[in-house]
């Protein structure tokens, strides 16, 4: 990966020392989690993992820009947002291993997780379907005159889906306070962005829905933080939603810019980080990840009868017959 010297100095005022360090430490953690889960998936220990390597700045920066009372709708790659919001690492490990202590009770293949206590919502891995849900939450909050917004993540491939179009169209018409964050890494699995759209990038699509469209360097955590905060404030003032295109191009599979390293260099430039802190953090993160994985790997699987729970609020006769 290529590295840039630092985040854009013009944005530096957006980021306090304390938040800068917190964001960086979280990015280091999720990078370590990601690399470990990719390895576990390759070894066949877990069935799948939707990696976000190279996209940490966009995911964590956007989550950090929202307020606690706001709702977050991930797509498949935003486990880092759930962890930022307070989902314990071990709870995520239980999800990935599908244990009896998985909040989703082992029903979904790994990713994305949800965390109800912090309004990180359960979404399916189907592409784009969560976009109208995020609009609906924001719309409902605005109807109730409550200052709550929603953030919805998706990759650029999702802009080809029905639900992207209808969701953002509803957002425009209703002025729902929603921030739609499109991670454009140039590739949807194997399909390049040029085969998703003929438009000049993805942010311009906002125009047709009466939304504001913004393009931001998705490897610059400060820029993402600033853009999402700005969109959040604009939505709260009744001006409606924003489609943010966070650009972080890959060369096929390899990110061109490492946002984690870039953030570290930014902190070092501000005198907030050094090699000793890095070594301590690496040690702590490694221990935390291994502890969480070990606990999840040793936890029992859900009981057979749990398949039948939660289909309905109460077990109907036909499911009782199948269960018993």
């Amino acid at each position: 990966m290529q590295t840039l010297a630092s985040v854009d100095p013009a944005h530096a005022g957006v980021l306090s020392d304390e938040l800068g360090i917190a964001l960086y430490e979280h990015m280091v953690l999720v990078r370590a989690v990601d690399e470990r889960l990719v390895a576990l998936q390759r070894d066949g220990v877990i069935a799948s993992h939707a990696s976000a390597i190279g996209e940490e700045a966009a995911i964590v920066g956007a989550a950090a820009a929202m307020r606690d009372e706001d709702w977050i709708f991930p797509s498949s790659r935003e486990f880092a947002a759930a962890l930022w919001r307070g989902m314990p690492l071990v709870a995520y490990a239980h999800h990935v291993f599908g244990t009896a202590r998985d909040p989703g009770r082992g029903r979904n293949a790994p990713d994305p997780p949800f965390w109800k206590a912090a309004r990180v919502v359960s979404v399916s891995p189907l592409v784009g379907t969560q976009i109208p849900h995020a609009v609906g939450v924001a719309w409902a909050a605005s109807m109730k005159k409550v200052d709550v917004a929603s953030l919805v993540y998706f990759g650029e491939g999702a802009t080809s889906s029905n639900d992207f179009h209808t969701g953002l169209n509803f957002a425009g018409v209703t002025k729902a306070p929603v921030v739609a964050l499109c991670r454009n890494n140039g590739w949807a699995t194997s399909t390049p962005a040029s085969k998703q759209t003929a438009s000049a990038g993805f942010a311009v699509k906002a125009v047709a829905y009466g939304l504001r469209g913004v393009r931001v360097d998705g490897t610059d955590v400060v820029a993402v933080l600033g853009a999402v905060r700005d969109a959040r404030a604009r939505a709260a003032s009744g001006l409606g939603g924003t489609l943010i295109e966070a650009v972080m191009l890959r060369n096929e599979t390899e990110p061109r810019v490492d946002p984690v390293l870039r953030t570290r260099q930014h902190l070092e430039g501000r005198g907030l980080w050094d090699a000793a802190r890095q070594e301590r953090l690496s040690r702590e993160v490694h221990a935390d990840v291994e502890r969480a994985i070990a606990e999840a790997a040793a936890t029992e699987k859900p009981a057979r009868a749990s398949i039948f729970d939660d289909v309905y609020a109460e077990l109907p006769w036909h499911l009782r017959e199948e269960r018993d």
Partner: protein
């Protein structure tokens, strides 16, 4: 008690529940000032205003998708899909999202709504305004499916559906929207979900029907009576979870069963009903179970009365089953 037709009874139920529970919102295409194409929501916009009776963009997927978000936030949406023939663009949202949210989130993110939609033929609506897609939803775990046959049940079932914790597909048989009239209690009452009604007791053959076809079954039973065949007619009211106890008790008494529905025969709900009867009352059967259904063709405009399983088609099936 007041004389009402189905449209008035459903309108009365919506108005009653919107006054009682400010979480309830109605949304859909043209449901506001004009009151919907069948005028079921007439007058609600005048009383409850733009934030609770909402004209939406013309997108069923967007209606259901944003309603899911509203439900997650804590509202209780009652979307109208203008014709059940138009529900397919929302099928992904209903099947993949609405029906599965409670289960996939371990019970933490249920999304509750009642989807109202006119169903069935007999109004010269042609291919795209006459379909009966109920079995497509009965097949999906997590949904409840209701179809009233008269104004009293329509109000009581709709109130029960709104208060039920699970998502409900509420099919309104449009052929009898105005043709079916009857006494409807003022104020609050419910008709419980999952309870069929034996609308006519008899000894020779059980006829299972619902919605508009109930009246065809009754007309056929009147004719059969003249030929010495005494029909017991069961109005299912809730299609899923179906009232298996009432069905089995009736079939054990008569030893014979005929199912009537408008939807195509193959994999229609009649197939499941007869399979259940075979599983639970096989040794009581004295004749092969019979189905009188729509044909396995698209729904025709000019020849709709030939397509529908009207009394003249039900009668020979009932008599043949009784005399087998």
């Amino acid at each position: 008690m007041t004389q009402m037709n189905m449209v008035q009874a459903i309108n009365d139920a919506l108005r009653h529940e919107m006054r009682r529970d400010d979480r309830v919102v109605v949304l859909g295409e043209d449901v506001g000032k004009v009151g919907g194409v069948f005028r079921v929501t007439a007058g609600l916009w005048d009383e409850f205003g733009d934030d609770r009776v909402i004209d939406t963009p013309l997108s069923e997927g967007g209606i259901v998708g944003t309603a899911i978000g509203m439900a997650l936030y804590g509202l209780l949406p009652v979307p109208e899909i203008q014709f059940s023939d138009f529900i397919y663009p929302a099928y992904d949202q209903i099947v993949s999202e609405l029906a599965k949210l409670r289960w996939r989130s371990g019970g933490e993110y249920p999304a509750k709504m009642v989807l109202r939609t006119p169903v069935g033929g007999g109004i010269r609506g042609g291919l795209y305004h006459s379909q009966s897609p109920e079995s497509l939803f009965i097949h999906v775990a997590g949904l409840k499916v209701v179809c009233p046959s008269n104004p009293h049940d329509a109000k009581g079932l709709l109130l029960a559906s709104i208060r039920d914790p699970d998502p409900v597909l509420f099919f309104e048989p449009k052929r009898i929207y105005r043709a079916s009239k009857g006494e409807v209690p003022e104020g609050d009452y419910t008709v419980p979900l999952g309870k069929a009604a034996v609308v006519r007791a008899g000894t020779d053959v059980t006829v299972l029907a619902w919605g508009a076809m109930l009246y065809e079954a009754i007309a056929a039973a009147d004719e059969a009576k003249k030929q010495g065949v005494d029909c017991e007619i069961v109005d299912l009211r809730t299609l899923w979870p179906v009232d298996i106890e009432t069905i089995v008790a009736s079939v054990k008494k008569t030893g014979r069963v005929v199912v009537v529905h408008e939807a195509p025969k193959t994999c229609g709900f009649g197939a499941e009903l007869i399979a259940l009867v075979n599983e639970k009352a096989f040794l009581h059967l004295e004749a092969p179970p019979a189905r009188v259904c729509g044909f396995d063709t698209p729904f025709p405009y000019t020849l709709e009365m030939d397509y529908l399983p009207l009394a003249h088609r039900i009668l020979p099936a009932v008599v043949a089953t009784a005399r087998y």
